[in-house]
């Protein structure tokens, strides 16, 4: 008996548009956003990121509620309630947990599961791949910082005595201070988590290392800086998590004196430290991935 094919869909050739490198970069960016948010993944991968996002939004609403309630009792008391700067403090805690999860997820599985061999057999360069991943990271983490601030801003405008539009007009500086401060946080936290994720093969270990460096590193750097030996104050600069907080305080008012400030460094030193850290991390990750490609 011979096989007789009644119907065979076969293989359809494709003559449509090909978006080349830019299409590949967009695909990596989109996949990165979906990955850190758990979209298209199993339910348990959605729980953590979405829980943090919901908490962030609720917190903004609570802040507005407190402002409204206190303002109804005594308008002057409102000055005592934290606003944008305080919200950054709260969100930096949430975002640290989010980044500890998202950063390793963006880089490590691609590398350990061999998916890089698929990426780099496509019209995609190492730089294109990394820029798209960084873009996805910055977009999602930036949204975690900025969206609640926008909610807070609009909420405060709504309950403002001077009126909605007047409040917005009087606080136009918020429109650049929030993004710049967000950028400072993303640059420092992103630099650390990307550098760690480029060399560690387990997402859990990378997350723990990230949190350890930020928390323990800042504490140790502060203590060493206070030791008093020649040049010890420069160790305060290794408290990397303090640099974006100093930038935030510069814009929104001081909360506490961080290690670099206690060691006598000005704000501009923290800005330079942030830039140096971000550039060094980018170069290191690029070097590492060029060797892997």
């Amino acid at each position: 008996m011979t096989d007789q094919v009644l119907y065979d869909r076969g293989y359809r050739t494709y003559d449509g548009p090909r978006r080349g490198t830019s299409g590949a970069r967009k695909a990596v960016f989109k996949d990165g956003v979906r990955r850190v948010l758990g979209l298209g993944r199993k339910a348990r991968q959605k729980i953590f990121p979405w829980s943090l996002i919901v908490i962030a939004i609720i917190a903004a609403a609570v802040f507005i509620g407190i402002h409204w309630a206190i303002g109804n009792i005594e308008e002057s008391l409102r000055q005592e309630i934290p606003t944008y700067g305080g919200l950054f403090d709260f969100y930096s805690g949430i975002s640290l947990l989010f980044i500890a999860l998202a950063g390793p997820q963006l880089l490590i599985p691609d590398r350990t599961k061999g998916v890089l061999s698929v990426y780099f057999s496509r019209p995609l360069t190492v730089d294109g791949y990394l820029v798209s991943k960084i873009g996805a990271f910055a977009t999602v983490v930036g949204a975690i910082y900025v969206v609640p601030q926008v909610v807070l801003h609009l909420g405060l405008a709504l309950i403002a005595e001077e009126g909605f539009l007047t409040y917005l007009g009087d606080n136009l500086d918020i429109l650049w201070k929030v993004p710049v401060t967000t950028l400072a946080f993303i640059a420092v936290h992103g630099a650390v988590v990307f550098a760690l994720s480029a060399v560690i093969d387990r997402t859990g270990i990378a997350a723990a290392a990230f949190l350890g460096i930020l928390f323990a590193g800042a504490a140790v750097a502060g203590r060493v800086a206070e030791a008093g030996f020649a040049g010890s104050r420069y160790f305060a600069l290794l408290a990397v998590d303090h640099h974006p907080r100093i930038v935030r305080d510069y814009f929104f008012g001081d909360t506490v004196a961080y290690a670099p400030e206690q060691a006598g460094f000005e704000v501009w030193v923290s800005v330079v430290a942030i830039v140096v850290l971000a550039v060094a991390s980018a170069l290191f990750v690029r070097y590492r991935y060029r060797r892997l490609a």
Binding site: R9, Y14, G23, A27, D31, G40, K113, Y119, S121, P123
Partner: protein, 301 residues
Amino acid sequence: MTAILEVSDLTHDYGEVVALSGLSLEVPPGVTGLVGANGAGKTTLLRLMLGLLHPTSGALQVLGHDPQQEPLVVRSRIGYMPEGDCLPKDQTAADFVSYAAQLAGLPPREAKRRSSETLYLVGLEEERFRFLGDFSTGMQQRVKLAQAIVHDPDLLLLDEPASGLDPEGRTQMLDLIKRLSSFDINVIVSSHVLTDIEQTCDWVIMLDAGNLLRNGPLQGFEKLGTVLVEVLERPEEVAAAIRAGGVDVAVDGLRMVVGPGDETIEPMVMAAAAASRSGLVRMIRGSSSLEDLFLNREAAT
């Protein structure tokens, strides 16, 4: 007929380890087998074709483009199925293949459509919404093949496509590869399993420790076997005379394996024996399969 691959005096080394040495060859369209033992240089050649490695010396052209100068142009026209694991376990087959299509530049909507069609082609239509971490080895190999062909490449590079498969899975994978050739997709299949190549390819490149052993059509390959020769005396002189005619000889005492080569070997051996004043004890045309030929070559080296 334009060659899909042109290699000219190509050498690549990893420090002191020479992976490819002075390779020169041309490959016509069709299904080509790239065979050799582990470490023969097969994967290095594939990675050079993708522009992921830079040759130490020499040049190559893939589909008329230099992968060193235009890596992205070459890669946009190639589909690559790596030998090792390359699947994210937390994605569904449909999502990953669609993503692979978008990585090749296809618009998202078209990528999704082609993802479904391609997974149907490789026999995974029912399983396309399952997570890749739940797939068997055979199913994962099919997904790897699907991601390599989803964007309609002009050339498909398959690195050990049947690796890790049971006999049934191996047969199915080879059938799929044969089927691809019927859709006019040029394929280069790397494998160290010679029977796989014999079943699927019409052209073969044989590599041995970075050197080219053979590059030619598989059809009629049986005529290019080796000849076992035994002489009475002076085997080295006989061998030298044969080698002067451009044919490989491996000497073992009074015996030697001559070839591979066609039917011109036998008269050449007789002439060489006569010129060396040595008597011929016997002359048997031996190897007829690709595997025999390869084994003989290994014995000779």
